[in-house]
């Protein structure tokens, strides 16, 4: 491990290749690893896509089947993330503000979807929500089918994205000062008014950040969704599964084009989350 003296920042005048020789080896390993594992693969994908004529790229990206998968993927993921935005915030609120038996255990198990391999999640969700499963058998008489439908995809996405919202909102709630709430109460606000007018506004950007993180994860999710979905085109086929199917048919350009669409959306979301967090921080600096 070598530390570089700050003089490196000053030596703007020395030519680039001379400075390169003095780059510490920790940097070299970092850059080499990132290049081999991340930059070259991403470059390969974009180059592969760029060999397609733009017209053909567009035709594949907006083919009927592709559009249908975007619809299933993104609309379902938005639904899952928003629902978790509400319930995840509620769970974070309950964990921060109230004391009840087994609270520590419940708090610790919120992270289960991170630790549980996605194929196991898919397997057990598909079983529980199937027509003769524990929960599915209760819903079947009502005419609600979950497993092997789009609703099942939503359940898998809800499962996978819930911890993101809870763990984003929780620390912020933890640090929120009670004084403001108490002041609101002293001025005669009801609990409900206090929540809507005092607690929620500063919390809103944080909740939105959590929703965006959860959405981003739900869009890319493959393991649990592929198992619980019937993967029927135009019904509940999601974009990652379509990529997989194209690869199985050795249709590399088809897979790449849809992959680029997904990757671009991931990158846009990453930027959006950055801005959301900057917005959330504005509230801290008051």
């Amino acid at each position: 491990m070598t530390t570089v003296s700050p003089s490196v920042e000053v030596e703007r005048k020395t030519p680039f290749w001379k400075r390169l020789g003095r780059v510490p080896w920790t940097w070299r390993i970092t850059i080499a690893y990132l290049t081999v594992m991340l930059f070259i693969p991403i470059a390969a994908m974009f180059l592969k896509a760029s060999t397609e004529p733009p017209a053909r790229f567009w035709a594949i990206a907006t083919s009927d089947i592709a559009l249908a998968t975007y619809n299933v993927t993104f609309v379902t993921a938005i639904f899952a993330a928003l629902l978790n935005g509400i319930f995840g915030t509620l769970i974070a609120w309950v964990l921060v503000r109230y004391d009840f038996p087994l609270k520590r255990l419940i708090d610790a198990t919120v992270d289960l979807p991170f630790a549980l391999p996605t194929s196991v999640a898919g397997l057990t969700l598909a079983t529980v929500y199937s027509d003769n499963g524990w929960i599915g058998s209760l819903l079947a008489p009502l005419g609600i089918k979950v497993s092997f439908t789009r609703t099942g995809v939503a359940v898998a996405m809800i499962f996978i994205s819930l911890p993101f919202i809870v763990r984003t909102v929780q620390p912020v709630l933890q640090e929120m000062e009670h004084e403001i709430e108490e002041a609101a109460w002293c001025l005669g606000a009801s609990q409900w008014q206090t929540f809507w007018k005092v607690i929620l506004p500063p919390l809103f950007p944080t909740i939105l950040t959590g929703v965006a993180l959860g959405f981003s994860r739900a869009v890319g999710e493959y393991g649990s969704t592929v198992i619980i979905s019937s993967n029927t085109p135009f019904k509940d086929l999601i974009a990652p599964v379509l990529i997989f199917q194209r690869l199985e048919q050795y249709d590399y350009s088809g897979a790449t084009v849809i992959g680029i669409v997904l990757l671009s959306i991931s990158l846009v979301l990453l930027l959006a989350i950055n801005f959301l967090q900057a917005w959330a921080r504005r509230y801290d600096s008051r």
Binding site: L123, L213, G220, T256
Partner: protein, 292 residues
């Protein structure tokens, strides 16, 4: 431009609030706690309990006989092997990256941070696709690899690449904040006293980041053993050859061998339980340290 991902540390929840509004309704907390637990039960608890119940539904005998099948044993062996390779490689990278980022101020630092996080936001299927486009038969290195008779796609090396890719960010992400907090005064003091670089690392840096590092290792291992999407794309999912445990679970389920699927799923669920327990222990440890 950094993305601070949510820190998945549970709260201490030890703040007792004394002030209560005049009209504090006693039923509100109970209803809210009820809704929260009901939601978690529907989404998480019932499915989690279901894994264990299904696996032992026919008793321990069939469960154990499922665990001695050749395909299963091979999948378990591959899973351990994948984690055993991905873990040290990503630890070395994570420590180097954390050191480079936390110890230097440079323009574009935030961009590098976001880049390290990228594998976290890329869909695993897209990650697998990238590896196929590079090393597959029609990929960039395809002709060269064929000329030298090296198989990466539909073989073990591809699975290693996919696993290493998806578990890349964890160590770096957990160690960076610890390194930044710890500061470099002690390291510099040691340096002025004539300590060598590796002495400084072993005796000063490593002890101070050990909990953060351990935390990162646990998360890396859980992801490496549990990865499905990326590995599935590059491996071809050939039973007895390129099937890790998560792939075995899906394959058995698709072949209507639900029992075998759940037997393997229980092991992976136990891995998840161990991961969560270790996380909780580490969080308590670091919290106690914080209090000091």
């Amino acid at each position: 431009m950094t993305v601070d991902k949510p820190s998945f540390h549970s709260s201490s929840g030890s703040d007792t609030d004394t002030a209560k509004p005049k009209e504090q309704k006693s039923w509100v907390p109970i209803v809210l706690i009820g809704i929260a637990i009901a939601y978690l039960a529907l989404v998480q608890y019932i499915p989690a309990i279901n894994v264990f119940v299904q696996a032992f539904s026919k008793g321990v005998g069939p469960f154990l006989s499922n665990l001695t099948r050749a395909a299963f044993l091979h999948a378990a062996w591959l899973t351990l092997l994948l984690a055993a390779i991905a873990l040290p490689v990503n630890t070395v990278f994570g420590l180097c990256a954390a050191w480079a980022i936390a110890r230097h101020k440079f323009p574009g630092r935030a961009v590098v941070l976001s880049l390290i996080d990228l594998p976290f936001s890329i869909s695993p299927v897209v990650a697998g696709l990238m590896i196929v486009l590079l090393y597959g038969r029609n990929g960039w290195f395809g002709p060269w690899l064929q000329a030298h008779d090296i198989k990466i796609i539909f073989a073990f090396p591809g699975m290693v690449l996919a696993t290493a890719f998806v578990s890349m960010p964890f160590v770096a992400r957990e160690v960076i904040p610890v390194l930044e907090e710890f500061g470099k005064e002690q390291e510099e003091a040691a340096r002025t006293l004539g300590a060598k670089d590796w002495q400084i690392f072993w005796r000063i840096t490593l002890p101070s980041i050990r909990w953060g590092l351990l935390y990162g290792l646990i998360l890396t291992n859980a992801r490496a053993m549990g990865e499905f999407g990326a590995v599935s794309v590059v491996s071809g999912n050939i039973a007895d050859q390129t099937q890790s445990l998560p792939l075995f679970v899906e394959d058995a389920y698709k072949q209507y061998e639900t029992e075998a699927a759940f037997s393997a799923a229980v092991l992976l669920a136990l891995l998840a339980v161990v991961t969560l327990v270790l996380k909780e222990i580490l969080e308590r440890k670091t919290r106690i340290k914080d209090v000091e």
